[in-house]
């Protein structure tokens, strides 16, 4: 740096010549120098200040961000029993109105640490007194076995039992906190809920895991730590479920049926309002799976979902719907019903002779096998399969219970022309009551495919159009007439017009070949109110007999229909349905044609 002298000689000399004061020059130069130094110092200070302020800003931004993050995170609450990496927490299950179907309850398990025990014999005797199924001698042997240090005695204790064990005063008997799955309604909706049991067990906690039904299907959802506090809301209605169970149980008892099942479904959303399968069980105390006999006779078997049976004449509705949809017939087309209809070695007969011909409507109303087979002859195997596939009857019907995916319909190996005819009236192909309810819902809701669900739906999401609105109207009228004029007279409920179709199928012989004598599966598939259906109800009774008449009656019209009618009579007022006069329903249906 070139330093400018304060008193440059040349300028001083010039100034002296001019007679000026040379000190002024020095002063001027000093001023300039000081100004330069001041500017430099200021710019340096400014840089430092900037750097510092940046630093502080960064620090504050970090702090602010952290505080913001803390404020934004959801407050966390510890859940009970979450320790040792085993979480026993499990969300509640409630019905559509929020009534508790399954909940968790704190209880205790009992275990012994043998090293801490003071008087094993006394403890064993006292335990045997409290729990009658404990053998004192064996318990003493286990307590005094030098190889054992730790023994589980009981997985669940009631508060009274706990107090009694506490009163023994044995320091080696210890309690482990447990969460217990509780189904306060007992057997109600047992097949839907399934049941729960313990998974991994530790001293401080034990996993509660679902073993069947929706408990198993929604395992991840129910144990998701973020959604523990939010109950799983099912579409079931507990009150309706209770009534359906009560009526079905009564029907099963009176008609001496081996089993019974009922499915009540919303035809627009596919929500299952009620699903009952009898015999049932108590999910609080789930019986072990059967080791002998037919699995279908076990109370654990969910007839509505797993029970794929040949359901008989209820399937005729699908044949008629397809023929109407494809434009092959109209409701008034006359069909040749002279019998028997011979096909190779096979003969198709009717329950009774309906004369030489019937209209398509009467084929359904009077339930003529020959008529349905004739209608289907023109359609053929490929189109029939296509139609049944669209209704979802050729695959397992999905539902949010663990058993649903495992059960599949039985279909003919080779879909021959004979299969086409037998399937048209419900033999040669199996269907579950649940799938049947969904298919009937599809037919009457305007033709939109219905997928059954156990979850409460906020809105209607119409599925694929399977049949046209027009065909749907025609089917509604025919189902209505079947009840009003045909085989299902017991379903005429004052105030609630019902439409439906009966089916009485001979049960196939379990030893293979042919059908059993006097063993019938009676089904009634109905929709109500018939003029603008909102609910579909399928009732199936296994081997029912009505013995009130002079001779035993087994057909659905005498068994499944009265039970179904009683269910409708009882539940319809609870389902938000206003009673209507039969004439109004007739008029609405006829006007829509």
């Amino acid at each position: 740096m070139i330093r400018t002298p304060l008193r440059p000689l040349a300028r001083v000399l010039q100034a002296r010549e001019r007679g000026e004061n040379p000190d002024l020059i020095e002063r001027e130069n000093r001023r300039l120098r000081q100004e330069a130094a001041r500017d430099q110092a200021r710019s340096r200070a400014e840089t430092r200040l900037l750097a510092l302020s940046l630093l502080f800003m960064c620090a504050f931004v970090v702090l602010g961000a952290r505080m913001g993050l803390l404020a934004a995170t959801e407050p966390m609450e510890v859940s009970r029993g979450a320790s040792e990496d085993i979480s026993s927490a499990r969300a509640d299950i409630v019905d559509r109105n929020g009534r508790v179907l399954a909940t968790n309850m704190a209880t205790h398990a009992l275990y012994a640490e043998t090293r801490r025990m003071v008087d094993p014999e006394h403890a064993a005797q006292e335990l045997a007194r409290i729990f009658p199924d404990i053998d004192a001698a064996r318990m003493v042997a286990r307590f005094t076995d030098p190889n054992r240090r730790f023994i589980w005695i009981r997985t669940r204790l009631s508060p009274e039992q706990m107090q009694e064990v506490h009163d023994i005063g044995e320091p080696g008997l210890l309690f482990a906190p447990r969460e217990m799955r509780l189904y306060p309604n007992g057997r109600m909706a047992a097949h839907v809920l399934g049941g729960a049991s313990f998974g991994q067990q530790g001293v401080r906690a034990a996993e509660v895991i679902g073993v069947a039904g929706s408990e198993l299907f929604f395992e991840e959802r129910l144990r998701d730590p973020a959604r523990i506090g939010e109950p799983l809301r099912l579409s079931l209605d507990l009150t309706v479920q209770a009534i359906v169970t009560e009526v079905l149980e009564g029907g099963k008892r009176v008609l001496n049926a081996r089993g019974a099942t009922a499915v009540l479904m919303d035809v627009h959303t596919g929500e299952i309002i009620s699903l009952v399968s009898l015999p049932d069980f108590d999910p609080n105390n789930r019986p072990p799976p059967p080791t002998e006999g037919e699995p279908a006779d076990s109370p654990l078997f969910n007839r509505a979902v797993q029970g794929y049976y040949e359901l008989g004449s209820v399937m005729k509705t699908f044949a008629v719907a397809q023929a109407l949809e494809d434009g092959e017939v109209t409701p008034s087309t006359m069909i040749d019903t002279r019998g028997p209809l011979t096909w190779g070695r096979f003969r198709i007969r009717d329950f009774r002779n309906y004369g030489p011909q019937l209209s398509v409507k009467d084929v359904l109303v009077k339930s003529s096998n020959i008529g349905t087979a004739r209608i289907m002859q023109t359609i053929g195997a490929e189109r029939q399969q296509e139609f049944l596939r669209k209704l979802g009857l050729l695959e397992s019907m999905p539902l949010e219970v663990s058993e649903a995916a495992r059960a599949r319909p039985l279909l003919p190996d080779r879909w021959s022309d004979l299969s086409v005819m037998t399937i048209s009236y419900g033999h040669g192909m199996s269907t579950s009551p649940l799938a049947l309810a969904a298919a009937y819902a599809t037919l009457v809701n305007g033709g939109h495919k219905v997928t059954p669900t156990l979850l409460r739906q906020a809105q209607v999401r119409p599925g694929e159009q399977v049949i046209s609105e027009r065909t749907s109207q025609q089917i509604k009228l025919m189902l209505h007439q079947t009840v009003q004029e045909g085989t299902a007279s017991f379903a005429r409920i004052p105030g609630y017009p019902v439409g439906g179709k009966t089916g009485s199928a001979d049960k196939p012989n379990p030893r293979g070949g042919g059908y059993k004598q006097d063993a019938v599966l009676a089904t009634f598939a109905s929709v109500f109110p018939s003029h603008e259906p909102r609910y579909a109800l399928v009732v199936t009774l296994d081997e029912p007999v009505d013995t009130t008449g002079p001779e035993p009656r087994r057909t659905a019209g005498w068994t499944a229909v009265p039970v179904s009618g009683e269910i409708t009579r009882r539940v319809a007022p609870l389902l938000d349905l206003r009673p209507v006069a039969l004439d109004t329903a007739n008029a609405t249906l006829l006007a829509a044609q």
């Binding site: 609450e77 859940s79 508790v100 909940t103 306060p184 009150t239 009534i243 105030g495 007022p573 009673p579």
Partner: protein, 124 residues
Amino acid sequence: MRSLLYLFTALGVIALAAWAYRENHLTQSAMNERSALEREISNLEGSLRIQRAEWAYLNRPDRLRELVDINFERLKLVPITAMHFGEIGQIAYPMPQFGADLGETIEVFGAIETLSETLEEQLP
């Protein structure tokens, strides 16, 4: 001047250390309190769940039905059917209620007296 600065710095460090120590303990006690509260909350939630389970158990449909049967004499509850619905027109329009029975004595204040006085004045 410089020693004064050192003194103040040292005092500042001591003060900050004391403050940090205090904050640390406050935080710990707050955390203890928090976990105590959480325990209390989860205990309360547990008892709430038991209450709810008990409520559900006591209100289970089977029991309610039995209660209805037992108390039929008093309550006369029957299942609701289509017969229990009615039209608006079937409900009788409530008649206006008269509050006072005219047969009893009526207490009246004020006006009547003046009225009677005026009446007396008018009498011949």
